[in-house]
Amino acid sequence: MNAVTLQLTIIVGYLLIALAIGLVAYRLTERTAEDFYLASRTLGTVVLLFTTFATLLSAFTFFAGPNIAYAQGPEWILVMGLMDGIIFAILWYVIGYKQWLLGQQYGYVTLGEMLGDRFGSRWLRGLVAGISLVWLFPYVMLQQVGAGTALEALTDGAVSYELGAGLITIFMILYVVAAGMRGVAWTDTLQGAFMLVTTWVALLWVLATVGGPSAATATLASSPDTAGFLSLGSSYYTPQWMLSTAVTIGFGVAMFPQVNQRFFAAGSKAVLKRSLALWPILCVLLFVPSFMLGAWAAGLEVAIPEGANVLPLILDAYTPTWFAALIIAGAMAAMMSSSDSMLLSGSSYFTRDLYRPFIDRGLSDSREGLLARGGVAIFATAAFVASLFQPATLFELGNAAFSGFAQLALPVLLALYWRKITRAGITTGILASQGFYMASLFVAAVPGSYAGWSAGLVGMGLGLLVTVVVSLVTSPAADEQRAIYFDGLGAD
């Protein structure tokens, strides 16, 4: 069997396993919208932990992360550890646990629904959903671009970019439409475990070949280009940049629809407690091997052409073909486990927070389930078509998605914890920070950096300020339910 056939066999085999899991989950799926979106809020510790993990970590962890470590040094591990391992974990409690309780009590399925109820405003509900979809769509497209590019590179062009991205899209539609959240969560569990195991095997394999970590690090220290990698900080990794990145992405992740929606899905309080305690360890277990491989690659004699991904090339050089293909399958896994969840959440935001309140208020539960499945197919297909043309604007939006979502985080936090917040306050706060951040991307007159701090972080501060000030000078609308997030919560 030649190399390309072998690689394709592994990847297609992997896709079929994911599809099979989806079909098993399909047999358990009820025909309600809540079951489709949230698996009826029944996820256990292992599944919740791994589905959140696999959803959070996209093709980015596999490709862009090692690329950054290769070019700039391993400090990226610290940035990722802070944003995902600590900041996100704390938000998982502060935002996530409160959302979970509210979801249990009032049956919320989306963030917009939860806010719309509190502030008595379907416009706010639609605004949150609309903003989320603006950032989500290009991000899904980027994942497809990543998958198509990776498959094309792996097979030396035997599988074209269009075919690769199309193949992945069809598989995702099939199992997401069939099995909803339960299928997605189960395949995520497989994908997350797979990522973790293959990354460690890859690390050990490469280290065994080059003579252990000390030898690999010594080659870094001996080259003038990379000697600076070992000392903490550089002109790239400044404290401002590290903190801006960690804070905006950490907060942004919590507002990403597919992650935020998982806040509602835990089966019990005990599941949340166990997940929180295991979370930082899980993060560090993936980040250290994955990004150290990237950093060590800079000292090894592996030719990396400009713009190519480091990880596949270093594996090509040090491990057999079948193993390199496994890792690419792992990267596909990472990409798919993020995209499938995004499709599901994007579709739920659309049907629940835009279609139902604004187009058909009398939508029945079973009709909503049907509509949501159609939404998944349309969303995925549209993102695939966009990935064929790759418009520059969408690229920019996709790359900025984390900071875009981060703009929602502080107004939402205030809504959850501050009783004096008003509908006018949160609405203007969200609009102001989104407007500012969009302007920093597309309007040349608005800079992207302020004394080393990113526009994303400055926008978050602006949103906080506007929300507080406007809330203080306005009085709540008559149909706001100001006590709903506070009274009787968790007192069972």
């Binding site: 391993p74 610290l78 940035v79 802070l82 391992g85 600590i86 900041i87 974990a89 704390i90 502060v94 646990y97 409160k98 009032y106 049956g107 629904e113 939860m114 719309g116 109820d117 502030f119 008595g120 379907r122 509900r125 252990g212 970590p213 000390s214 030898a215 690999a216 690090t217 070992l230 000392s231 903490l232 900080g233 404290p239 590290m242 309080k269 407690k273 166990r274 929180l276 305690a277 295991l278 979370w279 930082p280 360890i281 993060c283 560090v284 250290v288 139902r356 309140p357 208020r361 009783r419 149909d479 339910q481 100001r482 006590a483 709903i484 506070f486 009274d487 919560l489 968790g490 007192a491």
Partner: protein, 94 residues
């Protein structure tokens, strides 16, 4: 009592986040067992974070979020009496 405990856990969260990156090792290039010493700190710190989260989950879970019978004093400081729960609508009604 309740307030002090909340303050304590907020401080713990700030310290956990604040020292995930060992700022005091800025510029250090010391290598121990093949990895920079600042990376070892980070690995150990994440392990510590797991332990801290576990202790938090056992001892103080629900703090700042769940309303209990006795902390009505701190909750009652804003909003005032007479708040009533209305029907759940997800904003559909407006």
């Amino acid at each position: 009592m309740h307030r002090n405990e909340l303050g304590f856990w907020i401080a713990v969260a700030v310290v956990l986040a604040g020292l995930t990156v060992p700022w005091f090792l800025w510029g250090s290039a010391t290598v121990v067992a093949g990895l920079p010493v600042w990376l070892w700190w980070h690995v150990g710190w994440m392990g510590l974070a797991s332990v801290v989260f576990w202790v938090f989950a056992q001892r103080a879970w629900g703090i700042g979020i769940e309303s209990t019978g006795d902390d009505g004093s701190s909750d009652g400081r804003v909003g005032g009496p007479g708040r009533t729960r209305e029907t759940h609508s997800g904003g559909d009604s407006s």
